[in-house]
Symmetry: C2
Subunit: 316 residues, 2 copies
C-alpha cells in the first residue's frame, strides 16, 4: 500500500532492487539522448533517471549541465566545441539542435572516464516531451521516470523563474498523463517544495551529496543548489521526511546500512547514485537500497542475477 | 582498384581502420543475436563478424559453438541449461527457438568474462537469413559481412556434408544479392577451397590461431578444424596467398608489424581478432592492421578517434 503509485516502480524488497538507468546508460551510449534511452529500455531497464533544463525559449530539454560541456558537444562543422561553454538557458532550442551530442572527446578527462561509450553522429539534445512521448507509448507502459529538475544557481533567488521551471515540466508530464509514473527529483530541496505545491500528485525525491566528496570530471556538482548539510540538526533521511519527501537519493559514498534502515523506518525509499564499480554495486545491495542508479546497467543486472535477485517485478 | 568490391569494406589505410563488430558487440549485448546486431549498426559499426552453423533440418543459423553453451542458454522454464550440451546440428530450428540466448550465467566463467553484457529475455538464435534480410534493407546498404562458416569436426571427412554447408550459406547470400558485400571466412582452410569453388564471386578470409595460445573460457577453439601450422614451410600470409585467399584474420597475439607488412606486400588484407583491451587495440593500430574485430566497438571507436582516425570512409 502506498499513497503514491509512482513509488511502486522504485521500491525494493522481496528479491527486487530497482535498476535505474543513469542518463540512459552513460557507460555504453551517449548520455541523455533518445538513442541512449531506447537502448536502455531495449535491454530491459524500465526506470530512467535524467536531467531537465530549460532553454532560452522555455523548452524543457534533457541535458545534465547548465553549460554545454565542450567534451561532449560538436559544432555543425563536426569539430569539438572550444572556448567558453554556453549556458543552455542562453540558447534557443533551435540553436541547440545544431549541436551534436553523440560522442565524447576521448582526449578529455570526461571522455577518458567513459572510454567504452559508443561514438555516434547526428545525435541531438532531446526535449523532455520526446522522452515523455516514448514513455506514453502503450508498449512502454512499464517505464518509470525519475525526473531531475536542475536548479540554475544563477536564478536561485528568482522565485518566479524557479516556479516557471517546475510549471513547464509539470505541464509536459500532465499533458501525457504520466504523473502516475513520474517522480520529481532534485538536489535543490527548496525546488521540491515548489514541486509539491504545483503537483501534489507526484512524489518528491531528494538528492544529496555530503560535503567533502570529490567531484568527478565532467560534472558540475560544484554549482549545485542544495541544503546546508553542515547546519542540519537531524539526519539527512529525517530532514527529508520532515520536508515532506518520499525518496532519498544519496551519493553512494554517503550510504550506510544504518542510514538505509533509518530511511526505511521513516517510510522513505532509497535510491543511490551513481554506482558503477562492481564492489560498490555489491555494497549498495548489501546496504539494502531500493534502487541503484548506474551508468552500466548490464553490470548491475549481473550482480543482481548472481544473487538470485532481479530489477523487475516477476523477474521477467 | 580491387577485383572484389567486398574488400573495400575491410580495407584500411588513409586514416581508416575497419571496426568489425564481433558477434555483434559481445561485450555489450548478447552475442550473435538480432538484438546485438541492431545495436552494433545503430552505433555506426557497419562491418559484422558472425558465425554460421547448420541445424538438423539444414537451416543456417547464427551461433558460435557447435554445442550450445549452458552458460548462455536458458530452457523454456527460464533456468540455465545443465548437463550435456546438445549439438546445434542435432536440433531442428524449431527446437532451437524454444531456447533463450539473451543472457549469460554470471556464475559461469564465460559470464564472468562478459559481466557488463546486457541481460535480456526472449532472445532467440537467429537464422542467417534474418541478418541477411537486415543487410538487404536499403538503409543498411553500407553493411559488410564477414561470414564465418563453422567447420564441424564430426563431419570433417564427409565431403558432401561439407559442400552442403557451403551451398546452404551461398544460396542465402545470393538470394538477397549480398555477394558484393559478403566475405566468406573460416578457420578451416579446406572449406574455403570449397567456398571458392562454389562461389568464386566472393573473396575468402583465412582465420588463423597459432598453436600454443591459450583458449579463453567459453570458446570451443580446441575442436577447430584448421591447417597444420607446424607443418607449414612458408609464413602464414604466404600460405594464404598460395591457397588463393584475399584476407588474413589472425589471432591478435600472433600479429606482428612485419607479418602485416608481408601480408600487405602479398596483396592480402589483415583483420585481427578478438581485440578487446585498450593496449591490444593500440598495438593492432600500430601494427597496421586493416581491420579490428572487437567485442567492445565503443572502445575501438575511442582509440581510433584519439588518433584522428576513423572506421568508416569519410569519417561519417
Amino acid at each position: 500500500m502506498t499513497e503514491f503509485p509512482q513509488l511502486n516502480g522504485f521500491r525494493g524488497g522481496g528479491g527486487i532492487i530497482r535498476l535505474i538507468g543513469h542518463r540512459g546508460a552513460r557507460g555504453v551510449m551517449p548520455e541523455n539522448t533518445m538513442e541512449g534511452f531506447a537502448f536502455t529500455y531495449r535491454i530491459g531497464v524500465v526506470a530512467f533517471e535524467f536531467d531537465v533544463v530549460l532553454t532560452r525559449d522555455q523548452i524543457p530539454v534533457i541535458t545534465h549541465n547548465h553549460r554545454l560541456a565542450n567534451a561532449a558537444t560538436r559544432a555543425p562543422d563536426g569539430n569539438w566545441k572550444t572556448g567558453a561553454e554556453p549556458k543552455v538557458a542562453d540558447l534557443t532550442f533551435d540553436e541547440l539542435q545544431t549541436l551534436d551530442v553523440g560522442g565524447l572527446d576521448g582526449q578529455s578527462e570526461y571522455g577518458q572516464r567513459f572510454s567504452d561509450q559508443a561514438f555516434m553522429s547526428g545525435v541531438r539534445i532531446p526535449r523532455l516531451c520526446d522522452l515523455l512521448d516514448m514513455a506514453a507509448q502503450p508498449e512502454h507502459a512499464d517505464m518509470h521516470l525519475l525526473l531531475e529538475l536542475k536548479s540554475d544557481p544563477d536564478i536561485k533567488d528568482d522565485t518566479s523563474a524557479r516556479a516557471q521551471v517546475v510549471a513547464s515540466v509539470v505541464q509536459e508530464v500532465r499533458k501525457r498523463h504520466l504523473e502516475p509514473r513520474t517522480v520529481l527529483h532534485s538536489f535543490d530541496w527548496d525546488l521540491l517544495d515548489e514541486c509539491r505545491r504545483q503537483a501534489p500528485e507526484m512524489p518528491t525525491s531528494y538528492l544529496s551529496e555530503l560535503p567533502g566528496n570529490v567531484d568527478e570530471p565532467g560534472e558540475d556538482s560544484a554549482t549545485l543548489v542544495g541544503p546546508d548539510y553542515a547546519a542540519m540538526t537531524v539526519s539527512v533521511p529525517q530532514a527529508i521526511k520532515d520536508a515532506g519527501g518520499q525518496m532519498w537519493c544519496p551519493y553512494y559514498m554517503d550510504v550506510t546500512p544504518d542510514l538505509v534502515s533509518e530511511a526505511h523506518a521513516l517510510g522513505l525509499l532509497v535510491s543511490t547514485w551513481t554506482v558503477n564499480d562492481k564492489a560498490d554495486i555489491e555494497a549498495m545491495i548489501d546496504a539494502g537500497a531500493d534502487g541503484i542508479v548506474s551508468d552500466y546497467p548490464g553490470r548491475v543486472q549481473h550482480c543482481l542475477l548472481n544473487r538470485g535477485m532481479h530489477w523487475r517485478d516477476g523477474g521477467a
